[in-house]
Subunit: 347 residues, 2 copies
């Protein structure tokens, strides 16, 4: 990001007719938006959430409370408008683009009607306990799909992107990706997903450990990590984030699965982090650790753990507020308020 | 609040097509909104923030970094639309009503043009180090003004209220009110306001201790506390909250000063707490303690400490999201998604 624009933004923010620093994290968001968009009046009015769906061969190991058919059922729910992401995106004024990245079922009807995009890489990944989740070519294909979707939305004028996921079992590859890149112990980075019991959690940890042993993903090769222990929607999300960074559009990263995509994006292009905003901190407990790994601090902390892009959508109103803080508030000079002698401070 | 409506709301929320509990605090907000409005489709579309301004005789003791004339200057800034509350309320879709509760200056022009409401009780409170901040009659008058303003907004169809404040020096009476009601040591409940130095903070603590010694407010008599160590805008805010509760409209409480008003409202009518939503947790460090005293947990935590209603405005989008969660999301039965076996859990 442009250091010059960061400086110009901070100068304006420090001159707003408020005690210095008193809008806290809103000022940091405002500075980031201004630096990304290289203007002191950044607009994030036109918003889009990309919700990527995919299935996971590893569910046959019994790592989720949900049957796999819930993935396509939820795709139909997204189209019907009754899911969390639909109602929260509406409040935020964001359009939702649902993408089939690799659900184990076809949606000819929805694709034909233009209700979802199909970038189907395959009918679900392979079971990573038995071999790689996908081929290296498929990993590239899933990333490229995400980049292209971001490009299309930017071309339509989208000024703020958000990511979301749907895929039964997808906390399992997300934890595997985190462990693969960082060498952390699997039990440290594995949570309870949709709400599995302690016993199933133990089993999930063993499944991930086995997948890492069998596949030996190379932490220095992000494509290898994605191919061996990733997922099509996770690759797609990483692609959306890379596309957002390429086109200089801020991207709100949702929860645990989206952040696994963000981690992939960061390992491919470290400067992509500058374009990311962590929408919320999920209840999936390793999420906080993953955000720290990326150097991100979340906008919201609402004890949510739903995915779909719900945390990203909810944060978009706050981010729009930050754009208004730098773009529309007046400085001491502009509004004729007496400058005070307050100093910035941290508790 | 109606236990029956709470139960009906929770039943629906537990049947939404999501892993049970996975929308976290959004579900608690949704339940509260449904119980307040006694419907499973609560609307909070029409929103208003009441920003109350008042001056404080105690500023002559040197407890703030800002000169007193900043209070009226900021009132003009609110009317010009360049303040934080203007731009954040706009993002939330909330109207801002600015009220002169007792600024040490007249605003004939603004009142005549209908740009602010005048419920001026006096030209600033008395210096509470030398005697009561106001008479008991003035305390009643400030509460009544708030109740009447809430009533007027509810009559206009407002479905979600928010509070805000402007008044140089008003963290001082807010800390005094907190100490007076709870018997906490003054140093425990006194923060740095707009950003005073350690040295001025020491002095501020002594000023509040002296005001409490001189006035001896009776903690069992909320009107006595308001009269002796309060402020006109703080009484007005308490009135807005009482009015909201009376008319069964949820009210978003802003930061430290608004929460001092909320504490007054709770001591007058304990059940008023059921109608309160804490918009954010302020950087003014005793704010968190004050929220705990009320049993409230804040929606946002953005390191803000500006007042004006900015934290309330920012939280309104989230609250609107919660209304949509209960009002618009589909249950498993409604959307035909397979019910999973997940259990609610807390990390």
């Amino acid at each position: 990001l442009s250091k010059d624009w960061r400086k110009r933004a901070r100068e304006r923010l420090n001159n707003l007719a408020i005690p210095i620093g008193s809008l806290g994290r809103m000022l940091d968001l405002a500075e980031q938006l201004a630096a990304i968009k290289e203007t002191l009046q950044p607009s994030v009015k036109k918003k889009a959430i990309v919700t990527m769906a995919g299935d996971h061969g590893v569910v046959e190991e019994g790592v989720s409370t949900c049957p796999q058919e819930v993935t396509p059922q939820m795709v139909y729910n997204f189209v019907a408008g009754g899911a969390g992401i639909n109602v929260l995106a509406e409040v935020a004024g964001a359009e939702v683009t649902v993408v089939d990245m690799g659900v184990a079922q076809d949606f000819e009807d929805l694709v034909a009607q233009g209700k979802i995009l199909s970038h189907k890489v395959d009918y679900g990944t392979g079971n990573m306990v038995k071999g790689p989740a996908m081929t290296r070519e498929q990993a590239v294909q899933s990333l490229e799909a995400g980049v292209n979707i971001a490009a299309g939305l930017v071309r339509e004028g989208v000024e703020l992107l958000g990511t979301g996921d749907m895929g039964i079992g997808n906390t399992t590859p997300s934890s595997a990706i985190f462990a693969a890149f960082t060498g952390r112990q699997v039990w440290q980075v594995t949570g309870r997903g949709t709400g599995i019991s302690e016993q199933v959690l133990e089993h999930k940890i063993q499944v991930i450990e086995k997948a890492l042993q069998v596949n030996k993903p190379d932490p220095n090769d992000p494509l290898d990590v994605l191919a061996k222990v990733g997922g099509f929607e996770i690759g797609g999300i990483a692609g959306v984030i890379l596309g957002a960074a390429y086109y200089k559009v801020p991207v709100v990263v949702d929860g645990f699965i989206s952040t696994a995509g963000a981690l992939l994006a960061q390992r491919i292009a470290p400067q992509a982090v500058d374009y990311m905003i962590a929408g919320h901190c999920s209840m999936e407990y390793p999420h906080q650790m993953m955000l720290e790994e990326l150097g991100l601090s979340s906008v919201l902390s609402m004890n949510m753990r739903l995915g779909e892009g719900t945390g990203a959508a909810l944060a978009m109103c706050i981010i729009e507020g930050a754009a208004a803080v730098i773009g529309k508030m007046m400085t001491f000079e502009e509004c004729g308020v007496a400058r005070n002698k307050s100093k910035e401070y941290v508790q």
